[in-house]
Symmetry: C2
Subunit: 233 residues, 2 copies
């Protein structure tokens, strides 16, 4: 991958751009109080993420945006934590925890450098309104919001990766998928995108330690600033 | 319409945000030389815009992004101007004229004020890549790029207006459609959006003078700064 071929970078968001675990736990503490194990609740909620999207990917459910999947899986999360009595309006607020996540410290300085030379967009399973809220909260300099809801398919469905190049009007080989997850990058690569792996050792709070690099990616970096450096901006 | 109900503003782009006639004529002069009547060529090209989208809206053509419609209609424009010998690579550059249009002078100061309180997005018939190029060229502070290509329908199809509220996760009545064209606003109103008319007397170079206000709109203004003022930001 030479920097000169690259026209756009598209980003996984949960875990790659923002710290979902810390942010969800913070909102859980705020809304449910200090007696709840907030980190455990965040972990449990996240574990239901892939199975809930799988219901849409398999056709069992019609297209359903991530906010609605989060709202549905929250019922089981709260029930399992002995919190079945949490009222509906607090549940609605808890779903918005996913709109109030903070970026990792290297994200804004890295994106600001990358934005000078490249088109930047999220390519996330989060819905458009969620991405807009995250971006407005932190000043993420996206040029457009791409991803699952635009094509009504969840990653790793090929339609999501294909849409990035198509909507940006460039060849797949000039788009770099940036993610902290090997499976997301493998699916992007299968559709002809370039790939950059970002090591996020704290995503799962140390419970799961991701590999330090992806041997199949064009680039493996430890931060968005290192990514900017590698692309010469 | 009270400002407190408003969550998002979505914008028509050609004529409302950017001066398509001045920008296309400038690029025509640059690429075809001073002997061509650049403004007449821009007008002729624009006149083929609605009929070319109509081929998609009627189902005669499958979904085709605006860049490709512009490329197809350019052949007739050049032939009618006695310029059938213009080579393919110059035609490709001419199509990109629509990506290089400048905003009216009030646009950036108005949008910067509106961005403090409201989610802002284009809701145009122009494709996503075109909107990204326009925004990066001038610094238009969009939070997302919505519009025709995202839903594969051209305005005034109802799907385009419906998608704005749906993708932004808000009720249609909290979204304001901003446009310099009465038909666009009427179609938005029919789908439950609020409407703001912007008077752009120079859009057609004085050949057609638009009305100074739209009696059916919630607001009629002469600039984006006046729109910000009316919404109290």
């Amino acid at each position: 991958m030479t920097a000169v071929d690259v026209r756009a970078l598209v980003f996984d968001v949960f875990g790659t751009v923002v710290d979902w675990r810390g942010g969800v736990a913070r909102e859980v503490r705020r809304l449910l109080g200090p007696s709840v194990d907030a980190a455990a609740l965040a972990d449990d909620w996240r574990e239901r993420y892939v199975p809930s999207m799988e219901q849409v990917r398999s056709g069992e459910l019609p297209w359903t945006p991530l906010d609605a999947l989060h709202r549905a899986s929250l019922s089981a999360v709260l029930a399992d934590a002995g919190l079945a009595s949490v009222p509906a309006e607090v549940r609605d607020e808890l779903v918005l925890a996913w709109h109030r996540l903070d970026p990792w410290p290297d994200v804004l300085p890295g994106l600001r450098r990358l934005a000078r030379s490249y088109v930047l967009a999220p390519l996330s399973n989060g819905n458009v309104a969620l991405q807009v809220d995250l971006a407005r909260r932190s000043g993420l300099p996206w040029d457009a919001v791409l991803g699952a809801e635009v094509v009504r398919h969840y990653k790793p469905d090929p339609e999501v990766y294909d849409s990035a190049a198509e909507l940006l009007g460039v060849p797949p080989s000039s788009v770099v998928m940036v993610a902290a997850h090997l499976d997301d990058l493998a699916a992007a690569r299968a559709r002809g995108l370039r790939t950059a792996y970002v090591h996020r050792p704290d995503e799962f709070g140390g419970r799961v330690v991701p590999p330090s690099s992806d041997p199949d990616a064009d680039l493996s970096v430890a931060s968005f600033e290192e990514l900017a450096e590698a692309l010469g901006v």
